[in-house]
Subunit: 282 residues, 2 copies
């Protein structure tokens, strides 16, 4: 069959994911990109940036939980957190669920992404007024270069794909600035694309992290229906220490709700299939 | 963007997966269904039945390995195996990698699926002449009803979606016939659809298995890029016993290659996220 006109499609490398659209709710050209919001038939609202799927109401929880909780429960006591990108505020909301966290600084380039998310994804933005949250709208490359040394426990790189300007967020100089900003034992986590479609990006990202001087690098996997191939990864790297045990009892008895993450998933997500073990030589 | 004419699309429930096509290699109406083979740009060959994706060269390994090895390594000594459906022979090939297996009977309704697979997916059919393999082309419902009691160790239900005639393969009377054909401790495993898109089918299948009298039911999860949502499940059920430990050392030192499955993945695949735990009440 061929899809009718009322479908949004994102195609790359011979594969496409499409969602059926009921109406376009918003469209604007911000100073940085074209932002579109669609009402889909079965996935709630959809946000795209320059035609690339960022999130849907229905399935964003998996991505946001897996970008946050594994890194935060891998750290013994995360107090100061930075989120790079993350303009939809879904990651920010998950981070703020952790009582140990005293401050989260979110550095998103495009303020319009956040303002539009407040309107179309209000459930993700409900913690934006938490006094622990600082929302900055500026270039994260500069921010990280100027960040105080040893001032952060966890850095979450909730970025777009490594295309155009965002490429610099996938390279050793930026990871080195993150390393500098992290305290001993601090953890950086980056979204690291699909193991089926983008293995070279994942391998490149791990190489750049290694060059930057992290002690241990760990890739985790999880499903994201609306990203290419439906199979996604995040990659964690730690400063000065190996990962060791995570706070399993805390994860098991966490005083907040999750829809995907749990303590067993924490462990299972770091188990890699043969094709990844062979490619990553872990 | 809207996809051009040279894309195959499968759409359901407001979501579509599409593959870019270089050419259609084959099309026929068998006595049972329309079988089409496409050469895709980046996923190798694609087979569809009545417009529904069955497999691609590139990503079928995950599905076939996960339909076979977890069930086979969960069994202490699987000798006699039946594959229901599975006409592309990818599951059969994985089963025959196990030295303990003395006989595999495959019961596929449509001989044309197998003949066409031999041509377009020869790598999956390379064990079809193994003397341990018996390929039957007939109705599995009847076959299972007439199967000798306590004659099988593992039954793999590698079926199409529960639509039309195939619905009977997702219902208690058929699962009861499977139970009857299994020896004590025997295991049936069924492909059980997407946890994101088809939770009711998964729940229904588990209910029917329970009604049929299996002692323990276990759902495992894995990615399949070319199935709806990219996130898939299989459900295992055991006769007369709980699952207990799998043959972990054998799985770890298996004398054959896999591309997805390994002993750690075996364990990790049965770990379920919160939404599944809550829905399945496991």
């Amino acid at each position: 069959m061929s899809l009718g006109e009322n479908w949004f499609s994102e195609a790359a490398l011979g594969y496409a994911m499409s969602l059926e659209i009921e109406e376009k709710l918003h469209e604007e050209q911000s100073p940085y990109q074209k932002i579109e919001i669609y009402k889909t038939r079965t996935f709630g609202n959809l946000m795209t940036l320059d035609g690339i799927t960022m999130l849907t109401t229905r399935d964003n929880f998996i991505y946001h939980e897996m970008m946050s909780h594994p890194a935060l429960f891998n750290h013994p006591n995360p107090k100061d957190v930075a989120v790079v990108g993350g303009g939809d505020c879904g990651t920010l909301k998950e981070v703020l669920k952790h009582d140990s966290v005293k401050q989260v600084t979110q550095i998103e380039l495009d303020e319009r992404v956040t303002r539009i998310s407040e309107k179309y994804f209000p459930e993700l933005c409900e913690s934006n007024n938490d006094p622990r949250a600082i929302l900055l709208f500026e270039d994260a490359i500069d921010w990280m270069k100027n960040a105080k040394a040893e001032s952060l426990d966890v850095i979450i790189l909730d970025t777009t794909d490594p295309v155009g300007q965002a490429k610099r967020l996938f390279a050793a100089p930026f990871y080195k600035d993150c390393l500098n900003a992290l305290r001993e034992g601090g953890i950086v986590v980056a979204q690291s694309e699909s193991p089926l479609m983008d293995m070279e990006i994942l391998l490149g990202l791990r190489d750049e992290m290694e060059k930057a001087g992290y002690i241990e690098i760990q890739t985790i996997q999880f499903p994201v229906a609306t990203y290419p191939s439906g199979w996604w990864t995040a990659t964690l790297a730690r400063k000065g220490q190996k990962f060791g045990d995570f706070r399993e009892q805390m994860a098991r008895h966490r005083p907040f709700e999750t829809k995907y993450y749990n303590a067993e998933i924490h462990k299972a997500s770091s188990v890699l299939p043969e094709i990844m073990l062979q490619a990553l030589v872990v």
